[in-house]
Amino acid sequence: MGSVSIRKVVKSYGAVPVIHGVDLEIREGEFVVFVGPSGCGKSTLLRMIAGLETITGGEIAIDGKVVNDLPPRARDIAMVFQDYALYPHLSVRENMGFGLKLRGTPAPEIEARVGDAARILKIDHLLDRKPRQLSGGQRQRVAMGRAIVRKPKVFLFDEPLSNLDALLRSEVRTEIKKLHQHLKSTIIFVTHDQVEAMTLADRIVVLKGGHIDQVGPPDTIYNAPATQFVAGFTGSPPMNFLPAELTDTHIRFENGQSLAIPDQRRPRGLPSGSRVVFGIRPEHVSRADGAAQLDMPVTLLEPLGSDTLAFLSVGEREIVGRFVPELAPRPGETARISIDMRKYHLFDQDHGRAVGSLDG
């Protein structure tokens, strides 16, 4: 109940291709998040699964059954839209029961299922209101309730949190995660927000320009990004990148400064003199005593309360470090900064792929 197979799926609008042959297997009960910048094709892919967009090439199967030519109503899916798409002329109760009523479900069963869903979502006191009488967060819940009562094979969420304010967004995010643990059904969730992707997903699918850059659990995406794009998309602030040249023992930056490579983290398959992009996350830039240290001028501090971000110059380039506030360097000084060389990444300068087999 609820697996989705996407095989070599292509989508074009006229002569303009927007999805270039995507392959993905989604297991039953899995929470999969499609993430990527605007125009990467994540919503288009979701709408193709829903049946709201035609499939130009390849096939999509739900529970092993190819659904390419089935209308949305025959696919047994439910969808939560970005702006909720509640029926304005119907009450909350009628909105939630709409799909069941169309399918000829007996009235007492509709009533029971709407009641159950409303209790789970804590909207049972709103059942007789019209959508316009609800706040944004309440509408969001009704939209989810409308999906839940149907007990579909697959839930599709199209950026459902982007119209909520920041506080409500994190609250509803938690509830969606709880809901998934409760319902144990397959969820495909589209977002452009990497925090939502990291916190919600069993597996993240990072899309860029109509193809998949990387698929994996959040910690793999975070700790072993397959491309520079994925590395730069996750984390807040995202990974720092510095163009560099590889020597036998060191990584040398454009301004001549270099970092020693520990023996156990020597990149494999890269000859000395390779031009690479060196990547390091802000939390691996610290003032701890380590083997690899650089003297860097501090240009700016951003105190966040729990941590302080410091902007540090490396020649013409700049990187960000995350420091414990008491240990943060002062702006204007040149500080001795440690780079945790157990955690660095290398990327190809031309096509951005991770190189040197540095997983973990």
Partner: protein
């Protein structure tokens, strides 16, 4: 504040006074073109004023004209009957046809302007022209309709002589003429329905037919009420098309209230009685409008 500057500026006025001041031009205009003529009409309706009599002097008769019209004038009731019948046939008829046209015009054609232009043309045509065109269409000897009937092997039909057929053709033309107006209002309404409601309904399991009944129609009700209000008021005042097509005949069977008023006032120069009849029509229009407005307001609560 104002105590320091002796000159009072317009900004010192209270919001209510300022608002009234700004509304004054509109109020004056309305008085000139609505309140005065209606008041004058009501005034004249209380007098016996027949220009057909030599040296006619208006004589005050009170409500006599109204009493006569309502109790003793079969021609008045015939005209009311015809008008009501035209209204209850052509208003829903135009709503249904107009809805169909609006749905067609709203289809995602690559080039929408031909359908929209076709939609506009009947509306842009003057009423009398429409009446004359169809009078020729339905002419016994050289009309297009009888020509087609004959080519198909049927006999010629006396469209203008049979009271029922004459009434039927008039209703047909009114529906043709007014459905484009309906369609334009409904098309505007259709375009305000968000597309994602249909997507949500499709995912929820709706067929296209169910989408129409469960989404399109309920969401279109406000536009339909607006269209019905305007259309009902003009239907009550139906004049041009029957005037051009049948002139009220045969034997007054297609004479509407507006035509009867016109005949009384302009042809027979009975200003007093004509004004009383016009007042009665005004009251009926007012009543219809009030009912619709009640419906709209009731719907909002």
């Amino acid at each position: 504040m104002s105590s320091k500057s002796p000159r009072r500026s317009i900004g010192d006025l209270s919001e209510g006074t300022l608002g009234l001041l700004m509304l004054l031009p509109a109020i004056l205009l309305l008085c000139l073109i609505v309140v005065y003529p209606v008041g004058r009409l009501m005034y004249i309706s209380l007098f016996d004023w027949r220009m057909s009599l030599p040296n006619a002097v208006p004589a005050f008769v009170g409500l006599e004209h109204y009493i006569y019209a309502l109790t003793d004038d079969p021609k008045f009731w015939d005209a009311v009957y015809n008008t009501v019948l035209i209204t209850i046939i052509t208003v829903p008829g135009a709503l249904v046809v107009g809805l169909g046209l609006a749905l067609v015009a709203n289809l995602p054609f690559k080039h929408r302007w031909p359908t929209r232009l076709a939609l506009l043309l009947p509306w842009a045509l003057p009423l009398v022209f429409a009446g004359l065109i169809f009078r020729w269409f339905f002419n016994y000897d050289y009309g297009l309709v009888n020509d087609i009937l004959q080519r198909l092997g049927f006999g010629k039909v006396l469209w203008g002589t049979d009271p029922n057929l004459a009434f039927f053709t008039i209703c047909l033309v009114i529906i043709w003429k007014s459905s484009s107006f309906m369609a334009m209002i409904l098309l505007a309404g259709l375009q305000t329905i968000p597309r994602n409601l249909y997507e949500a309904a499709k995912v929820d399991g709706a067929t296209s037919w169910q989408c129409f009944w469960k989404i399109t129609l309920p969401m279109l009700i406000p536009s339909m009420v607006v269209a019905l209000v305007f259309r009902t008021i003009t239907a009550i005042q139906t004049f041009d098309i029957p005037y051009a097509m049948t002139g009220g005949g045969p034997g007054g069977t297609t004479e509407t209230l507006a035509m009867y008023i016109h005949k009384t006032t302009i042809d027979f120069l009975d200003f007093g009685y004509g004004s009383a009849l016009a007042m009665l029509m005004f009251l009926v229009s007012l009543g219809a409008t009030t009912i619709y407005l009640r419906i709209i307001q009731g719907d909002k609560e």
